[in-house]
Amino acid sequence: MRATTISDSARPSLAKGVRLEIDSTTQKSVLLYPEGIVELNETAHEILSRCDGQTLREIVCELAEEYEADLNALAADVRDTLSDLQRRKLVEFK
């Protein structure tokens, strides 16, 4: 599945077996999964902490409002980040 195919109504969530935690040593968020750890940048953290059943559109709108950012640019960023995580099997869509 390519980035362009993620629809606005898709609901992203962490893939099975993946956990989002705060690394108490660095205070940064990390994804933990079998035999792996990924440190998240701020964008990824902001997106993933909103992957609680909301649609992609809802997440983008919420972020755009909070950061007063351009909706289209933000939507592209969110799609890029999520499709990268999807490719690494850390995020899935329902």
């Binding site: 099975k16 077996g17 035999e35």
Partner: protein, 379 residues
Amino acid sequence: MKVPRPYALLAEITYRCPLHCPYCSNPVAASLGEAPRRPKGGGYNNGELTTEEWKRVIRDAAALGVLQIGFSGGEPLGRRDLVELIRVAREAKLYTNLITSGMGLDDDRLRALRNAGLDSIQLSFQSDESSLSDEIAGARAHDRKLDVAANIRAAGIPLSLNFVIHRRNIDRVAQMIDLAEALGAERVELANVQFYGWAFRNRAALLPTREQVDRARAIATAAKARLADKIDIFYVLPDYYETRPKPCLNGWGRRYLTVNPNGDVLPCPTASSAIPDLCLENVRTRDLDWIWEKSESFNRFRGTEWMPEPCRSCPQKEIDFGGCRCQAALLTGNATNTDPVCEFSPNRAVVDAVLREVNLSGNNARDWMYRVNPFSLAM
């Protein structure tokens, strides 16, 4: 040099195991040598850490920075307190992996583990079908493992199938991948045997031929591409056939620590047997953070200062860290030497001699010696 923080703890909670795999990485001396030290005042009478001692180790590890814990052994299900230890690890926010043969994992136990928050299970298989698998395990295990795998799937816990690959099963890599697919595993590890512990003792029987290795690699590479959307396939090469060493542990005392059943803290699980002069610290007598930061054993090969030539002036030294200290010790008698797998090692001839012997032996592979248990305790 600034001491890094650890990321993962391997908790070897017991050396007891119902299987007798001849490639086990546990120290041979744990079974054939002297009995382990007895703990003062209560606890497991075979020298194993008590439940309270393990809880402290887990919390101390989390405070040090550890994010992942692997419960291993031996067979970790042999400890009745496993569920409790997993609960404590989850409370400490650790990602919890169970590395198991599956023997003794009935429905009640599985449910209890899931409810305690177990994140993932790595289930070992010896091969893809029962006759060869059971022969390798030295026990009737394969058919029960199939049931256990199905139950793990039903419980919704992420499943990884772990195969140790060697001369007797390497020709069945394709069927092993088929099995992982059929059982619905998310992940499969096809790891060529590494020669430590029992595997080092049984090396002549376990090391595959070059022809076998080339064939298996091609099969695994093709399957990886074919199943990319379905299963993560990890194929670990047999390092004797490589020309550069593996980046063992991603550097000594840099990311990983192991605590063995008796509480010894190891930079690497095989270091106690491979590097006998390493003075090991124990969680009963020292704090974990002191051991990680200050002990001689964790600092001996930390960083790059300890390196001899050809590592010292090698541009790869921050990439492979000079390879494996245990392998250097086992094959050259000196843990400080460059891993002799490296083509630049002055001791590479030792590895080549082993390969020559195996590749000339045709079909006359040697017999192996099965691993025996430390004690005749019933599981």
